[in-house]
């Protein structure tokens, strides 16, 4: 069980309105990712759901029951914090057992659950160490362990991977996805990293300045962004936008084309440009091409074998079916 409904939720800090009226429906067992640039209110939204912040107005229902005035501990949600927030003076075992001890559970049951969590998360080897003696990834696992022993209705993750190095982040991303499959519990995950959002989510909620810009599955957002903001935010490297003449050709204010949907050629094409910086990733190469009539260079993804040098003249051709058109308000035209 873990169905969460937000109904006309708002939040203001003094005069600053962080979250305008917002509705959201999270289904049981879903992996929902809140994504958006820094300061878009995604963490605040998570803390509202957790109950750590009070709503200015609106209602939250968890499993159909109104939870607006229910204190955080009674909501049946578990949270994993960005700093992990482990208790430094307690061993890993005591850290994980803490919520159960607070719930006045029997010692035998506590031991059983802690051992089970330690097994799922491979914590057994350092169960008696203190958090200070663990690496970042291990601490992360302990924090998750402390969340899963409570068997909560839903897990809340507040940018849990931002303190880890790149390799470990990829690893933990998989582990969290795996955990979600195993536990089949609702998870709400906050991140500013669209790669995390794309790879892990069942449903992505894109936020900007407290507003929900679009809700949908990762591929839905990738293929049919509702507006220019979502189009630019989802996908890596980000979508190229062209205005003026190129857009006027298609009868709209702005056109957008992803780097992977541009064909590059030395001989002929729709737009003529000069190669600038190229980023070689091995499998792929990203060329930044300065095109006549566009302020910013366009990013093009080409296969790693393509060999082009700075200053060469090239032609770019957008793949027509992947072209996105936007009107003056930035809304997508279909």
């Amino acid at each position: 069980m873990g169905q969460i409904t937000l109904n006309q939720v708002t939040k203001s800090f003094g005069d600053v309105n962080v979250i305008p009226p917002l509705d959201l429906e999270i289904k049981d067992g879903e992996f929902v990712v809140f994504v958006g640039p820094s300061g878009c209110g995604k963490s605040t939204l998570l803390r509202l759901i957790a109950g750590l912040e009070d709503m200015t107005s609106g209602h939250i229902a968890i499993d159909g029951k109104d939870a607006t005035d229910v204190p955080p501990a009674k909501r049946g949600l578990a949270m994993v914090f960005q700093s992990y927030a482990l208790y430094p003076h307690m061993s890993v075992r005591k850290n994980i057992a803490f919520p159960l001890k607070m719930a006045k559970m029997e010692q035998a049951e506590i031991d059983k659950r802690v051992d089970n969590a330690a097994k799922i998360l491979n914590l057994a080897d350092y169960i008696d160490r203190r958090p200070g003696q663990l690496s970042g990834g291990q601490r992360q696992r302990v924090a998750i362990g402390r969340a899963i022993v409570r068997e909560p209705a839903a897990f809340l993750f507040d940018e849990p991977l931002s303190n880890l190095d790149a390799a470990l982040r990829v690893n933990m991303r998989l582990e969290i996805s795996e955990l979600h499959k195993q536990l089949d519990t609702t998870m709400i995950y906050v991140t500013h990293d669209q790669v995390e959002a794309m790879t892990m989510a069942d449903k992505i909620v894109v936020l900007r300045a407290g507003n929900i810009e679009q809700v949908g599955s990762p591929l839905e957002l990738y293929r049919t962004p509702r507006n220019q903001f979502v189009a630019g935010f989802i996908g890596s490297p980000k979508m190229n936008f062209l205005t003026d003449a190129a857009a006027a050709e298609h009868g709209c204010k702005t056109i957008g084309i992803r780097p992977e949907h541009l064909d590059i050629s030395r001989e002929s094409g729709a737009w003529k440009g000069v190669v600038g910086v190229s980023e070689h990733l091995g499998s792929d190469t990203f060329f930044h091409v300065k095109v006549e009539g566009s302020k910013d260079p366009l990013t093009v993804r080409a296969s790693g074998e393509v060999d082009l040098h700075r200053g060469e003249t090239v032609f770019l051709t957008p793949q027509g079916e992947h072209l996105h058109k936007f009107d003056a308000q930035g809304l997508a035209i279909r």
């Binding site: 927030a85 482990l86 208790y87 003076h89 607070m102 402390r146």
Partner: protein
């Protein structure tokens, strides 16, 4: 070469400070040791020669010795208890956001700036005077007989005065410790179902243990040597004669420098015993 040069330069430049410090410590220490083995009565014949350990034996066998050790320990223990307990409470209060926070914090710290002699006199004359003191007026306002603080509850009075002086120190150190507590830890505990008192007991108190250790260690060192507060209030009467005060009486009131010096050596030993004892109990809080 460069490091060798700078090393010797550093030695030369540090030398004055080191020599001064060593002199400050070694000269009185060796003089105390020197006098403690002599019969030295400045007004009754001066230096009367070596006497071996006679001074040491006389100082310990004197009926005033053990009571003075107990008095010292009671004062130190009492003040530590009060300052740590109230210090934690005050630190928590001062950590709450409130109007005029900066001024309130300075006011709380201010007793620390008052000289011990002055604060003891203010307490003695303004608060504890059985006729004109504020406490006496308060008692009378309720129709009670004023308490003769410095003679009837002499130990309590001294502990109160010294605690008032040292509370700011404890509060200040504990306040900085509380400010360094990670807010997310408290929120995590809240999510985990800990009530406010449980959060205090399981998160805040362990976090403060290191700061409390420091407060206890530093205060003990200074409290073992309190003198002015006793000198200007009870003058060592009514069971408030600490070891320090006893030594003062032997040297200056009885004019027996040798006996007092032997007492000084005992005081050094006592301070070291307590220091080792404290390090053992609380020192483990300081690592990692």
């Amino acid at each position: 070469m460069a490091t060798q040069h700078s090393r010797s330069a550093a030695r030369i430049m540090m030398a004055p400070a080191v020599i001064l410090l060593l002199g400050w410590m070694l000269v009185p220490l060796s003089m105390t040791l020197y006098f403690s083995f002599k019969k030295f009565l400045p007004l009754r014949g001066g230096d009367l020669g070596w006497v071996g350990f006679e001074n040491y034996v006389r100082f310990v066998t004197s009926s005033a010795f053990w009571p003075s050790v107990v008095t010292t320990l009671v004062i130190v223990g009492g003040v530590l208890l009060i300052t740590v307990f109230l210090g934690v409470l005050l630190a928590i209060l001062l950590n709450q956001p409130m109007w005029g926070q900066g001024i309130v914090r300075i006011l709380v710290i201010s007793p620390f700036f008052v000289m011990p002699t002055v604060s003891a006199l203010v307490w003695k004359n303004m608060f504890m005077d059985p006729v004109n003191g504020l406490f006496a007026h308060l008692w009378k306002a309720f129709g009670a007989t004023p308490v003769e603080w410095l003679s009837d509850v002499s130990m309590g009075s001294i502990i109160m005065i010294v605690s008032w002086q040292w509370l700011p120190f404890a509060t200040l150190i504990l306040l900085t410790a509380i400010q360094s507590l990670d807010r997310e830890q408290l929120e995590a505990a809240e999510m985990d179902g800990a009530q406010p008192l449980q959060r205090f007991a399981f998160i805040t108190v362990p976090h403060l243990s290191r700061a409390v250790t420091i407060v206890i260690l530093i205060q003990t060192i200074f409290l073992l040597a309190i003198f002015a507060e006793i000198f200007v209030t009870t003058g060592g009467a009514f069971g408030t004669r600490t070891l320090t005060y006893l030594i003062y009486q032997r040297v200056l009131e009885s004019q027996n420098v040798g006996l007092g010096s032997a007492g000084g050596v005992y005081a050094i030993i006592l301070a070291n015993i307590i220091a080792i004892f404290l390090m053992r109990i609380v020192g483990k809080n300081l690592d990692a």
